[in-house]
Amino acid sequence: MNGGHNPSEERLLAYAAGTLSPPEAVVVAAHLAMRPANDAWVRRLQAVGGRLLDDLEPEPLADDALARVLARAEVDAGEVLASTPLNDMAGLPEPLRRYALGPWRWLGPGMRARDVHAPRDGDCRVILLEIGPGRDTPRHTHGGVELTCVIHGAYATETARFDVGDFEEADAEVLHQPRVVSPEACLCVVALDGQIELDGWLGKLIQPFVRL
C-alpha cells in the first residue's frame, strides 16, 4: 500500500466490480487519478473480474443473437464516439473534468461550493467544496456517509491530516470540524449522502441557509 489515506479494501473492490453508487464512484475515480498505486490495484481487480466472468456458466442466447449484433454494427458502421466536452476547471483530475459543474455558491466566509453534475443516487450527490486557508468548516455530523478526496491544499481533522489525493470516509457517527492547514485554499470533491447537520447554536442558526 502507498502512504496517505486510502479507500477501504471493500470500497476499491466495489469500484472495480462496478457496484459503487455513481456519486461514490466519482470521488473514488478522482482519488485513483492521483494515486497510481491504487489505480494499478483496481486494474488488477478488473483482471480478477475478467477471470470470474470467464468462469461463469454460460446462459444460452437467442439463435440469431450474433446476426443481430452484426446487423446493428453494419447500420452504425463508422460511427464516431463523440468525446465528452470538458468543463471549465482545468486543474481538476481528468475523471472530474467530464462533468458539467453548477455555479459557485457562497456558504460562509472563505467557503464556497458547486455541484458536480454526476448522476445522483437517492440523496447522494457530488459537490466541489473550496475553503480558504486557515478556515474551519462548521462542526458537523452527517446524515449518511461522506466521502472526500483532496484536490488542492490540505485540511486536518481532530485526528488526522489530509493532503492532495488523500481519501476520507466519514459515516453518520463522525462529528468533525475539518480545518484548512495549507497556505492556499483547499479544494475537495465530496460525495454527500443526506444533509449535513451543523453542531452548536451558531450551526443551528445558519443551518437553514447552508444547504450543500
Binding site: E10, A17, R43, V48, G49, L53, L61, P119
Partner: protein
C-alpha cells in the same frame, strides 16, 4: 479499417453467454440480460480495432465494458430514472493497450486466486456479481454484515500479498 468477423464470432460465442449469465446473477431478467449481452458485444465490435486478442486481455477488457454498463441497466430498471452512462465515470482500461495484465501476470493471477480459501472465493465472486453486494452477501450466506466486510478485507489482503510480493516490494 478492417474488422475480422470470424474472430469476433469466436469471441461472441465464448463471452456473450457469459455476459448474459453475469447480469442474471445480479438479478436481471433473462430478456434484459440478453439485451445487455448483445449491447456489450456491440461495444466490443466497435472498439475491436483497439483489441489485441490474447484471451487474458479479452476477458479483462470485456469484463470492464460489462462493468461500466451494469449499473446503468440494473438501476434504470429498478428506478425508472434516467442515468447517464457510467463510461463517463469509469472507463479505465477499455482500451486494451492500457490493460494492465500481461500474459505472465495472467498465470500468476490464476495461481493467486487458486490459493484463496473457498470462503474467500465465495465472497469475491458475490462481490463482483451481486447488486448491493455487502447486504446481499450477508443475506445469502446468513452472516452479519461486519463478518462479510472482514471476510472481503481478508481476501483482498491475501490477494495483494500473493500478487504484490513477487514484484520486488513495489507499491
Amino acid at each position: 479499417m478492417r474488422r475480422d468477423r470470424e474472430a469476433f464470432a469466436r469471441l461472441f460465442e465464448h463471452f456473450a453467454p457469459r455476459l448474459k449469465a453475469y447480469l442474471m446473477k445480479a438479478g436481471a431478467p433473462a430478456g434484459a440480460a440478453e439485451d445487455f449481452a448483445q449491447d456489450a458485444m456491440l461495444t466490443v465490435w466497435r472498439k475491436a480495432e483497439l483489441f489485441d486478442s490474447t484471451k487474458a486481455h479479452a476477458a479483462t477488457w470485456i469484463f470492464t465494458i460489462a462493468r461500466n454498463r451494469r449499473l446503468d441497466v440494473l438501476r434504470q430498471d429498478a428506478r425508472r430514472t434516467p442515468m447517464p452512462h457510467l463510461e463517463l465515470v469509469q472507463d479505465e482500461p477499455e482500451q486494451p493497450d492500457q490493460v494492465f495484465l500481461a500474459s505472465e501476470d495472467a498465470a500468476r493471477l490464476k495461481s493467486a486466486m487458486e490459493r484463496l480459501t473457498k470462503d474467500q472465493m465465495e465472497v469475491l465472486r458475490l462481490a463482483f456479481f451481486q447488486d448491493n453486494p455487502h447486504s446481499e452477501i450477508a443475506r445469502r450466506l446468513d452472516l452479519p454484515l461486519g463478518t462479510v466486510k472482514s471476510r472481503i478485507r481478508k481476501a483482498m489482503i491475501k490477494l495483494r500479498t500473493l500478487l504484490e510480493d513477487d514484484e520486488g516490494g513495489q507499491s
